[in-house]
Amino acid sequence: MGPLLDALLLTAVLGWVCLATAALLDRARHDRRVSRMIAVRNRLRVAEDGELERIAGRLSLADVGDLVSDDDLPGPIAERVAQALLAGKNQTRIVEMAKGRTTTHVLTRIRAAQILVAARAGTAHFVLDGMLRSTHRQLATGALRMLVRLNDRRSARLLIRALADGVFARSRIAAAFHAMSVERVDMLGTLLRSDEAIVRYWGARLALFLGATQWADTMRGLVNDHNPLVRRAAVEVIGALGEERDVKVVIELFDDPAPAVRAHAVRASAAFSSPGLVAAWRRLRHDEAAVVRLAASDLLATQPAHQHHVAPLPA
């Protein structure tokens, strides 16, 4: 029994030492890599023509992928570093890698795509569209981030198509579209004219946050949409536009069968100054839906002339 237990103990001790060493080495390796990348980044920032390409030529795909995805490196330098890596036959290899033809490792695919994006290679959009539609969560997330980085009309169009097709969480695609700064409001028509209610809803939501005055007439039409989600989003836009001629449309929605639409209509009506509104809000404080009552009383509380006494809630 003794030798067996000795062997067991020895094995356990060796295992413990190995694991402890692995943990410490992993930490040290990470720290070393962080320091090295900071040094490389600093050298690239001040590098003269030719030297930058020389430094970039000595870097691995992973290094360049990390460098160009890092916002610390100015765009033009990142572009030159990526272009240096793509020089020669590398471009085909990296495109194939990004498409997943020569590797299945997600992180490698994303790094390859990051290099294409940083270099503003012509194939970047095609590759990113494929990643976005891959149904792989990590690839799609990575693609969204890179499309925002590209920030051009072609990327915006890809996002609109992806949103319409529902290839990934629509809220995430909408967030990416919203985060761009390129002129893109005209593209919302694809969404607003869609047969799918959920797509029209997202079109209206984007219109709200992009200040899309050019779609005002479409929004006036959408407040009569058969889907309450779309009506709700449309009335929000009408409120944000704040054109007095729309007050009647908004007041009509106070009697909408869907509580969420009524609540949003109440909030949207804050933008108008029609004399009948306060009476309507008072009436809606007794609405059957708590969400409408809350919206109406929130609004009344903001009216100085109509401050009401707040009593403790009844038992």
Binding site: M1, G2, L5, D6, L8, L9, A12, V13, G15, W16, L19, A20, A22, A23, L24, D26, R27, A28, H30, D31, D70, D71, D72, V106, L107, I110, R137, Q138, T141, G142, L144, R145, V148, F168, A169, S171, R172, A174, A175, A176, H178, A179, R205, F209, A290, R293, L294, S297, A301, H308, V310, A311, P312, L313, A315
Partner: protein, 496 residues
Amino acid sequence: MMTSTVLAAFAWWAFLICAVYLVALTVLLLAMLVVAVRENRLRADEARLDDFATVRHSPFTIPVSIIAPAYNEEACISASISSLLALDYPEYEVIVVNDGSRDGTFQELRRRFELEPVEVYPADSLPTSEIRQVYRSRQHPRLTVVDKDNGGKADALNCGVNLARFRYVCCVDADTVYYPHALLSGMRHIVQDPQHVVGVTSQIALSRHPERTPRTERLRIDRHPMLVFQTFDYLRAFAAARLAWSRWNYMLCSVGAFAIWRRDIVSELGGFSTSFTCEDIEFTFRVHEHFRSTGTPYAVLSLTDIVGVTEGPQSVGSLVSQRARWQRVIAETVWRYRRMFWNPTYGAVGFAGMTYYVVAEVLAPLFQILAIVAVPAGAVAGVIAWPDFWRVLATVAIVNGMFTIAAMLLQQRAFKTFSAADLRYMIALGPLELLLYRPFIMFAQVKGTIDFLLRDRRWNKFERNPRGGVFSPVSASRGLGLLEQRSLPENALPLQ
């Protein structure tokens, strides 16, 4: 002579049974660790690739209602709620429910956040004890405070759910200080897959005084040995076990200090149960039961991101009190949902999750008592070869330390949470855990099981760690070793 023979036979059988149990448990933990390695890599890659810069500023990021029940939290409530109000997330509200505190919790809230009474219209979907008054902060429009009669934590959470405006509720503790990235970390999986992910929980770090934890800098551990040993527990639970559970979707224990749920599910399932000592684990079981029995696709995830720092018991008495309660709650819940055990309707939850809970948690005290009784019995009967006994004990201690390091390594690979100095300190302490800490946990588990059998339902809140002197961030950092300066890029989450 007869007695000695009986004792010897008992000791042999007891040791054999305990050895089989120990080996089975080790194999089970090893299997989970293997699964966790893959899941950990996936989660780490996801965190690295996600576009946090867009999500944290977008009006399309799903809004969340945070519910913080508070009962006698005067010491920490301001720090906790301030940390919640400073979260880096585009749209959220904070609902603090003062559950009839008998100390100055409410007064502290009123003083610190300038509360004024408001009229509200809570949905009446979940019954709760009576609301005295609802307040809103003049300083922070996001903050709502509900003052209500005492009804327990579950009742307070239900009250918060009734008042919540958004589709997701994040249940938190009012004695925990949260990092700015907490909600972003938790919600990122829901934002990516809102149709399937119905619940997310995440890891919490421990400190003697969470209110002294700097919120903008990188975590370093509280080096008090009692806290470090508890950190080992948390690491093994989150970085190994729960990652594996998440991968196969049988994550059966959300953390009371940070659990995000879809609000309609909370309402549909009747809210958090007031008939259990703790609501968190029971509700997680209920969610799994609901979705598995209806055959609806869903996911409940546990993350290894450290989202906040909570107060860990510093004294043995407090630790035993807390862990006995946990053991009792586990026993209560497993007993309540025993129909899921090896029931094919519940898939991995019934086969893997319930098996783990029964073998590793509920039955553990039986084997612990058996082992403890067998040692003196064997000694009296003269069947214990002491050198062999010490060898076995040392082996078990080191294997336990190996599991801890493996969990640390997983956490490290994903988030680089610990500094090199902390890592060395924890590695060195690892093998001592079995002798210096485990006996108290064993005692607590036995006590908790007895309490369960006696149908004790008390919360037994552990006594707060002593707080003395004036707080200064510098002295705190020196004393607790909590600070490590680090600037973060816009797209990164802290602790990555």
